[in-house]
Structure formats: structure tokens, C-alpha cells
């Protein structure tokens, strides 16, 4: 009898578990079935999937389950993606579900993903990101007139910025014809044109309910809007195509109303009052500063004590005057000294001495003059005596002495020629020792001369 090696249950289970885990097909399984035994639990979800002939245990962990956009119910047909594993503790294999969606809407998802990819590629999601006006006056709302959406928006706007005029464009937001109605109202809002923004939205619902907001014609109409579009479609977890193409997306209608009223009335009024107090304060500071400057100038020494301006000069003048006086004084003293020296030199004793000296000189000169004159006189006399002696030889008297005479008329006039005589005229003949009176008797001229 051959010997067999017996495996433990654990070993076998571990082996089987590894088989499951390593199998490439079981790692990612797409499965369709009906939900069974579903009962919502707070954490992970445990239920079954079945069809008419078979059943498989299913587990959905909390993290995956929280991402679901719908609430599963027993009996619901679903499409799931997951991996098949073995749970050794109970010896059961099971599918661990990563993603689940209701069957029948799979086509919706496909269309949604296709449109999303197309628009994203065309840049439509980033196309419109216009800012919202800070102080809007008119906002249009496209939604159902009966839902909570319009109520939430009205309440929020009335609370934050009551002056804002809301205008409702009632639209059918679910079911057949909804997309067409939404497009129609979008066009009407665009035609009106004066709105600062438009809110388009509806409350939460199933994927089918939200479907009109995944419609391409609606998306294109939103893209073409002339004013910023705020979308608020479904719950926060629902993201529709309209949400992607809108300028702004709000998680709730209240959030949408807050977006279109960025500044509340109270904040706006406070802000403006604050601006006013700021310019008042700025102006006040400015004026205070200028007043202080003015006061400083007014209090300045120059204006209050102008004499200070020339005090220095006065002092300077004083100093210069003093110096001038001192200089004059010393100059006068120096001159006085010189004068007294001169005066001393002019004292009478000195004069007398000089007078005596001069007198002596004069006397000397006088003696020299007298002497010289005497000598000269002797010389001249001698010269004259010799000259007189010379003259004596020539004297007519000497000639008369030798026998010559001369004759004069009554008038004493010397008669030199015959013609000087007249007959019978009395003449005087001058001799050496006297005169002889004679009478002319006859005139006889020598013919030798004529």
C-alpha cells in the first residue's frame, strides 16, 4: 500500500489561495449579476451576486463602496469589476468588488466618458473661466420652479445680498425633453444678455435623472453663454458634463448662490465705510503733519526773533570798532612819540647853538668877502691908474700944450672947417692956458679941396 502524504486543511487552503491570487483571469473580472442579500452596513459591505443558476459571495470594502454614485439595493442588476480570491477561514471563494454600477446605465457611462473625453480634448473644460461680478445686479437661474434649488438660492441671496434681482427660467430638469428645455432656456437667457451670471442646476438624483446635464447640446449651449455660468447639478459626488464646461461649479445650490454674491451687503457697506474712514484718517494725518510743519516754521527763531539774524553782525561791528580804536590809539601814540622827538630836537638851546654856528659862518663869509673886495679894489685902482696915465698922453690939453688951439662959437661949438665960420662972427680961441676972443675977418678956402 503506497504511503500518502496528508496535507493539512490550512496548507491546502493556502495552496488554493495562491492559485486564485496568481491566476491572471481571476485578477480582474468583469461580472454582471443581480444583487442579493444586500443590507447596508456602516463599514465594508458583504452580499452576493447571482443569476438564475449560480451565486457568488461578494465583498466591497469601505473605500471602494464610498465612491459609488448610487445606493445599491437587493434585486438590482449591477455591473461589477473586481478580483476573485479565496477566503481561507470559511473556505469560500468570493469576488472583491472594486467598482460597481447599475446595469442598464453602463451605456450612459460609456456615452458620458466619450463625451467627456471629446470635450476635454477640445479644451472645452478650460474654455470658460470668467470671473463673477463682485456686485451683481441681475442673475438668471435655470432650474425647476418646484425644487429646493430655487428656494435655497433665493434664501441665500436674500441673506447675503438682498438687492440682487434673481430671475427664474423654469426648466424641466429630468426626463425626456429635458435637455431640449434646458437649451431653450439657456438661449433665452443669452438673448436677454443683461445678466451678470446664470446659475443652472437641479437637485440630486440618479444617474438617469442627471442625464440631461450630460447632454452635448446642453454642454455646447453652456459653453456659448455670454455671461459666466455657475453649475450646481446633483450632489457633490456627481460631476456632470455641464459641471465641467461651466465657468464655475458649485457643490450645492447654496454654494452657487454664494458664488454669485461674492461680497455680502454687510461686508460691502462696511468696506466702503472703512474706505471712507481711511481717506479721512489719511487726510487728517496729512493736514496734521502740514500744520505741524507750519507751526514749526512759525516758531522758528528767524520769525520770532529776527534780531538774531543780525546779532552776530552787531557783535562783529563792535569788535571791529574796538580794534579800530585800539589801532588808532597806538598809531597816535607812535606819532606823538615821533613829534616829541622832533620837538626835543627843536629845543631853544639847540637853536642858539645852530644860530651861533651860522653866525660864525656868516662872519667868516663876510671877512672873506671884505678881503676879496679890498684886493679887488686895489687891483682895479691900479688898473685905472695905468689907464688914466694912458689917457693923459692922449688928452687935447696935452696937444694944446704943444701949441695947438681950438676954436668955438658963441655957443661953445667947436669950429672945425672953414664953413663953420662966418665973417664978423665972434669966436673963442682956446689955448693952453686961456681963451682969446677974436673976430673973423675973411674966409678963404683952400682950392685944393674944391
Amino acid at each position: 500500500m503506497p504511503t500518502h502524504e496528508y496535507l493539512s486543511v490550512t496548507t491546502l487552503s493556502a495552496y488554493l489561495q495562491r492559485k486564485f491570487d496568481q491566476d491572471p483571469y481571476l485578477n480582474r473580472v468583469y461580472l454582471t449579476g443581480e444583487l442579493s442579500n444586500f443590507r447596508l452596513r456602516p463599514g465594508h459591505q458583504y452580499f452576493s451576486l447571482k443569476d438564475d443558476h449560480a451565486k457568488i459571495s461578494a465583498v466591497m470594502f469601505k473605500s471602494a463602496f464610498n465612491k459609488l454614485k448610487f445606493t445599491p439595493e437587493s434585486g438590482m442588476k449591477v455591473l461589477v469589476v473586481g478580483r476573485v480570491t479565496m477566503y481561507a477561514a470559511s473556505g469560500q471563494y468570493q469576488i472583491v468588488i472594486e467598482h460597481m454600477e447599475p446595469d442598464g446605465v453602463g451605456a450612459f457611462y460609456q456615452a458620458y466618458e466619450q463625451l467627456k473625453a471629446k470635450l476635454e480634448k477640445a479644451g472645452a473644460f478650460a474654455q470658460n473661466q470668467r470671473p463673477l461680478r463682485q456686485f451683481p445686479t441681475q442673475v438668471a437661474v435655470i432650474t425647476s420652479p418646484s425644487g429646493a434649488v430655487i428656494q435655497d438660492i433665493r434664501t441665500t441671496v436674500a441673506r447675503r445680498y438682498p438687492g440682487l434681482q434673481l430671475t427664474l427660467y423654469p426648466a424641466v430638469v429630468q426626463g425626456d425633453g429635458s435637455a431640449k428645455d434646458l437649451v431653450r432656456q439657456l438661449h433665452r437667457v443669452a438673448e436677454h444678455g443683461d445678466y451678470d451670471a446664470v446659475i443652472i442646476g437641479r437637485g440630486g438624483g440618479s444617474i438617469e435623472d442627471l442625464w440631461p446635464f450630460n447632454d452635448e447640446t446642453v454642454a455646447q449651449a453652456v459653453l456659448a453663454m455670454p455671461m459666466p455660468v455657475v453649475s450646481s447639478v446633483g450632489h457633490e459626488t456627481d460631476t456632470t458634463i455641464v459641471d465641467f464646461v461651466a465657468d464655475h461649479r458649485a457643490a450645492t445650490p447654496t454654494a452657487a448662490a454664494e458664488l454669485v454674491t461674492p461680497v455680502t451687503l454687510v461686508d460691502a457697506i462696511n468696506g466702503i465705510a472703512q474706505y471712507r474712514s481711511r481717506i479721512t484718517a489719511a487726510m487728517q494725518n496729512r493736514l496734521t503733519a502740514l500744520q505741524e510743519r507750519l507751526a514749526r516754521s512759525q516758531k522758528s527763531v528767524v520769525l520770532t526773533q529776527p534780531n538774531r539774524l543780525y546779532d552776530q553782525y552787531v557783535q562783529q561791528v563792535d569788535q571791529l570798532t574796538t580794534r579800530l580804536q585800539q589801532v588808532m590809539q597806538s598809531q597816535l601814540e607812535a606819532l606823538g612819540h615821533r613829534v616829541s622827538l622832533c620837538r626835543a630836537a627843536l629845543a631853544p638851546r639847540n637853536l642858539q647853538l645852530r644860530l651861533n654856528a651860522q653866525t660864525q659862518v656868516v662872519q667868516q663869509l663876510r671877512q672873506r668877502l671884505t678881503h676879496a673886495t679890498a684886493v679887488e679894489l686895489v687891483n682895479k685902482r691900479q688898473a685905472m691908474q695905468s689907464a688914466v696915465a694912458g689917457l693923459d698922453h692922449l688928452s687935447p690939453l696935452k696937444i694944446l700944450g704943444r701949441g695947438y688951439t681950438y676954436v668955438t662959437d658963441d655957443n661953445g661949438k667947436m669950429l672945425k672947417t672953414t664953413s663953420d665960420y662966418q665973417v664978423d662972427a665972434t669966436v673963442t680961441i682956446h689955448t693952453q692956458d686961456g681963451e682969446v676972443a677974436a673976430q673973423v675977418q675973411q674966409l678963404k678956402e683952400n682950392n685944393a679941396n674944391g
Partner: protein, 73 residues
């Protein structure tokens, strides 16, 4: 020229605030700006305070406008 919007006036006020706080505007000009600023702020505040609570309107399919009445929607 179109009437300045609320935002235009507010921007003008903000500009005046900035300039006055900077303090490099000549005094005469600053006084004029101050006056304008105070007038603007009062005008803006009045605009906001006097705005009555707007009643939501509804544009009906025939194009007429009526007050929105949620109870009879």
C-alpha cells in the same frame, strides 16, 4: 460715456484711498480727491443701503415676467 458702474466707482474709491494713504499727491489735489472719495463712498453706501430686497421674478414661456411664487409653482 456710459454711467460708471458700481464697480467702477468702487475702483475709483480704492484708487483714491491708495493715493491718499501713499501721501504723495499735492495737497490741493489731495483735498479734491478726498472730497470725491467721500462723495463716492456715500453714493456707494447709499446705493447698497437703499436697494430694496429684490423679489425673484419668473420668465414664463410666453415671455412675460411675473413675481415668482413658490407655492403655486
Amino acid at each position: 460715456m456710459a454711467e460708471p458702474t458700481f464697480e467702477d466707482n468702487l475702483a475709483q474709491l480704492e484708487k483714491i484711498v491708495a493715493q491718499l494713504e501713499q501721501g504723495d499727491v499735492p495737497l490741493e489735489q489731495a483735498l479734491a480727491q478726498f472730497k470725491t472719495g467721500v462723495q463716492l463712498s456715500q453714493k456707494l453706501e447709499t446705493t447698497l443701503k437703499d436697494a430694496e430686497q429684490a423679489v425673484t421674478k419668473e420668465v414664463t414661456d410666453d415671455g412675460s415676467v411675473k413675481a415668482f411664487d413658490p407655492d403655486h409653482a
